[in-house]
């Protein structure tokens, strides 16, 4: 497991007081998957609630596994807008309002904002918050034998 370098952050969003990138662990993915298309990412104990871990190289653009309040979700690290590294963005609550000038916050830690243009996506569903027709690709992920396992391709497909 290696630490991501600040210089890899194309936007600078990861630096400074609101830095998120430095807290993202990156694991190099395999050049090819095993027959099942599965990849063991890390020990489950290493991915704490509120954390995320990025798998580079396993699929083009990479995949990131998020731990949201004990539940794991895996998203393609590629914003459908302009291809930004979506999963390196700021993690936020959902912000709504019931009256002008008022902010309401819920679903803490369940929204990621792409560092390129700050589009918001629901980490749990991959759904864009501003457009019901837009989603980012999700991957199945689970804890098996104390390890985080992500399924990077559908059964029967050879390519990742």
């Amino acid at each position: 497991m290696t630490r991501a370098q600040g210089s890899r952050d194309p936007t600078g969003q990861g630096r400074g007081a609101t830095s998120t990138l430095s807290s993202i662990s990156v694991v190099p993915g395999p050049s090819s998957a095993d027959d099942s298309g599965e990849l063991v990412v890390c020990e489950a104990a290493d991915l704490l609630s509120g954390g995320r871990i990025e798998i580079s190289g396993a699929v083009h653009f990479g995949v990131t596994v998020f731990n949201v309040d004990g539940e794991l979700y895996a998203l393609l690290n590629h914003c459908p807008h302009m291809g930004g590294p979506l999963c390196r963005g700021r993690i936020r609550p959902r912000v709504s309002s019931d009256a002008v000038g008022r902010w309401d916050f819920d679903r803490e830690g369940e929204v990621v904002k792409c560092p390129f243009h700050n589009w918001e996506f629901d980490i749990c569903s991959g759904q864009a918050l501003h457009d019901s027709r837009l989603r980012v690709r999700r991957y199945p992920v689970e804890i098996r034998d104390g390890k985080v396992v992500v399924k990077l391709r559908k059964d029967g497909r050879k390519k990742l």
Partner: protein, 369 residues
């Protein structure tokens, strides 16, 4: 004016032309006074005396406009004896067979820039009463927008409550020049009153950069009239952005807003950019719950005049598509000013498929006609 001119106009009228739309509405028909003395019977004695002593005390600027003829185009056959309402009926309403002409004022816009708010309110009350007695009474096809002094929302609301229920009153006039962008909540009581009476807000170019109002552009004061005219879309865009970001259409869900004489070319550019940025910044103004273009489509209409004049007609038609003209544009003539858009010639520039909406049904919906 010569007899030849009169004959020519008469002849034009007799020739007639197919009606432009089944229900034809002009959203910008200026009703002018001969001089401010016309409203003296409706003004408090103190202000009549002050005007006699000092003149109208309307703030003014150095922007020249065009030489005119008692406020009318120089080809129009008027003089100081002309009955303007009757002239407007003959030369405009009858000639083109308008079903409704919305009187949007003219001389009144500058009063919104005065620092004496009681004077502004009194002038507006007098102007509204004079409009009802001398214009609306002339022809039942006339409707009017109320003049108000926006810098004193308390008196503005009183005036809307006083006359907002009159069947000829269809809107409230908030000229584009002001002290704040119009989403500012200082103005919200005005919008609440307008919505309560089922009136549209109407923002016509005017009053910018004079008196207590802001400069016409954020870059400062234009020098020339031509230059000043190019400021209009900037001002309109600032008001549109403000109205949407401040949640005016979330608070006043039935409110319609009609911008008049502020150009139209900016509509698609502003909305494309607005939508794109909203996707990134939505969580900072979460009360803006929809795409800005959706609020625009539901609540805002824009007068056609002055209509863009690109070299190629197909460019204009492409623009109509981009601007969603079918839903958002309303025909406005600007009669009797020099830069008006003559109805038949203007109609010919629109595809027939969207003409009924732009020349009638959009305005009927916005103004509840």
């Amino acid at each position: 004016m010569s007899a030849v001119d009169t004959e020519r106009r008469t002849s034009d009228k007799d020739l007639g032309s197919p009606k432009i739309a089944p229900y034809l509405v002009d959203c910008d028909l200026h009703h002018l006074w001969h001089q401010i003395d016309d409203i003296f019977p409706y003004l408090p004695r103190q202000y009549v005396q002050e005007i006699k002593d000092f003149g109208p005390m309307f703030p003014g600027g150095m922007w020249t406009n065009m030489p005119n003829n008692h406020g009318y185009r120089i080809d129009q056959d008027v003089d100081h004896e002309t009955n303007f309402p009757s002239f407007t009926v003959t030369e405009h309403m009858d000639r083109y067979d308008f079903d409704v002409g919305i009187l949007t004022g003219g001389d009144i816009y500058l009063i919104t820039a005065t620092t004496n708010l009681d004077y502004a309110a009194a002038i507006c009350r007098a102007y509204n009463d004079w409009t009802l007695d001398h214009w609306v009474a002339e022809d039942d096809r006339f409707r009017m927008v109320l003049a108000i002094g926006p810098n004193d929302p308390i008196q503005a609301v009183e005036e809307i409550d006083r006359l907002g229920g009159h069947p000829a009153v269809v809107g409230v006039n908030l000229p584009a020049g002001g002290r704040h962008p119009y989403g500012n909540r200082m103005y919200h009581p005005i919008y609440e009153a307008a919505e309560r009476h089922g009136l549209a807000m109407v923002t016509h170019f005017g009053g910018e950069g004079v008196g207590a109002n802001n400069a016409p552009t954020a870059a400062g004061y234009p020098t020339y009239y031509l230059e000043m005219r190019m400021a209009r879309p900037q001002i309109a865009q600032a008001h549109v952005a403000s109205l949407i970001c401040e949640g005016v259409f979330e608070k006043y869900k039935d409110l319609k807003w009609v911008f008049v004489e502020v150009d139209t070319w900016w509509i698609p550019g502003l909305l494309d950019h607005f939508d794109a940025d909203w996707k990134a910044l939505r969580d900072y103004t979460p009360w803006v719950k929809q795409l800005p273009s959706e609020y625009f489509r539901k609540h805002i209409r824009v007068g056609t005049q002055p209509l863009e004049q690109p070299a190629k007609r197909e460019d204009l038609h492409r623009f109509f598509d981009q601007a969603n003209a079918r839903e958002v544009l309303v025909y406005a003539s600007d009669f009797p000013h020099w830069d008006w858009d003559e109805p038949v010639a203007t109609a010919a520039t629109f595809p027939e498929s969207i003409r009924d909406e732009i020349f009638g049904s959009n305005a009927r919906q916005a103004f509840k006609l």
